[in-house]
């Protein structure tokens, strides 16, 4: 009877009787990258990439809630040009010596059915935090072929103005507007 009471209390506490259990996903560094795109002399698009140093996402799809924490190591910027990477690490751009990490922390998730549609959070670069919205271009889940675990992820895009973070070297020849393109895949823990 005691046990039954406990179960009843638990069932009462859950909204709509749904088993709303947040699921934790750890980002897979082989399929999680932050790419950036910026216009060069109004002519062509410069691209670069950051790997994800650490990424955790908690999804409660039944309740329509989520939480994300993504950390990137700014010194590991990769454009394919070592000299350009070194320039990007300087104090007037990524300032990697004084601010080795950039972070994205988000707790505002919107869903379209059970798919994540947008994530709004705070992006911190060079110690400056600004709101950034990432919109899903696609979102889905598939079973991981080796781990036999669920993998959820997708492609997201967003934009920021680098001057807002104090990274304004080279403007206006290299644009202020930076497009972010994220590949993320999280493995269910």
């Amino acid at each position: 009877m005691k046990r039954l009471g406990a179960w009843a209390a638990l069932a009462f506490a859950l909204p709509c009787g749904a088993v709303a259990e947040p699921v934790v996903y750890r980002l897979d560094p082989e399929h999680s990258f932050v790419h950036f795109e910026v216009l060069h002399f109004g002519t062509s698009t410069l691209r670069g990439r950051f790997g994800v140093q650490e990424g955790l996402v908690e999804l409660d799809r039944a309740a329509g809630r989520g939480y994300a924490l993504v950390r990137i190591d700014t010194a590991r910027v990769d454009t394919g040009l070592p000299a350009f990477d070194a320039r990007l690490r300087q104090p007037d751009l990524l300032a990697s010596d004084t601010h080795p990490q950039a972070t994205f922390v988000a707790s505002s998730f919107s869903f379209d059915g059970d798919k994540v549609r947008a994530v709004r959070g705070e992006f911190t670069l060079r110690g400056v935090s600004q709101g950034v919205e990432l919109r899903a271009l696609r979102f889905g889940c598939h079973p991981h072929p080796q781990l036999q675990r669920e993998v959820c992820g997708g492609d997201f895009e967003g934009e920021l103005r680098r001057a807002d973070f104090g990274a304004s070297f080279g403007m206006p020849f290299v644009a202020n507007r930076v497009r972010l393109v994220l590949q993320v895949e999280g493995i269910r823990q």
Binding site: E30, F41, T43, S44, R49, G154, F173, Q183, V184
Partner: protein, 188 residues
């Protein structure tokens, strides 16, 4: 009188069709990025970091020719074991075919801007036609090199099986690969 002649010669030079000029690909602003779907969930990307080439370009006559080759051993996805797999016989087979080459001579213009470049892409010893569509194109005077630079962004979607690259097709790895091309070339 001489001054007048000189001035008119100068203005003539400005309006007469220029001859084809040679441009050298700027390897620091020229990259091919590929995109391929990963289990329909997210998009895997990779980049080719070593390349060289030239462009013959005549905006007045609206003609051009581009020749560019990519060192496939410099493929870079950010995942070292994947780079290794991509260089194996399953994909690019770089031991036998270390480079890919694109020769494009069908330039389509929209006004004085390049809108499309059609040509042939050779990889794995096979050649197939490819048309690159410009999403933007521009020429500008670069203050650092003090020369005209022309370039833009191009894209196309190819089926890798056209070059015999069929690994994983039966496991759901996509045939379609989108290529995003940044290119800038400096007038010589």
């Amino acid at each position: 009188m001489h001054k007048l002649l000189a001035a008119s010669a100068l203005s003539l030079a400005a309006v007469l069709p220029a001859q084809a000029s040679t441009y050298t690909i700027d390897p620091t602003h020229t990259f091919v990025t590929y995109e391929i779907s990963h289990f329909g969930t997210s998009t895997n990307r990779g980049r080719f970091d070593r390349k060289e080439g030239t462009v013959q370009f005549d905006r007045a006559a609206r003609t051009g020719k581009v020749e560019i080759s990519f060192d496939l051993t410099a493929i870079n996805t950010g995942v070292a074991p994947l780079d290794k797999h991509l260089q194996s016989a399953d994909f690019f087979d770089t031991a036998k075919h270390p480079s890919a080459r694109f020769v494009g001579d069908r330039f389509v213009f929209n006004g004085d801007k390049v809108a499309e470049v059609g040509g042939t892409l050779t990889m794995l010893g096979k050649s197939a036609p490819v048309t690159l569509k410009a999403t933007q194109f521009n020429c500008y005077l670069n203050p650092l090199v003090k020369r005209e630079v022309c370039g833009g962004d191009f894209e196309t979607t190819v089926k890798r099986s056209q070059w015999g690259m069929t690994w994983g097709l039966n496991m759901g790895v996509q045939d379609e690969v989108r290529l995003l091309i940044q290119v800038e070339a400096i007038k010589q």
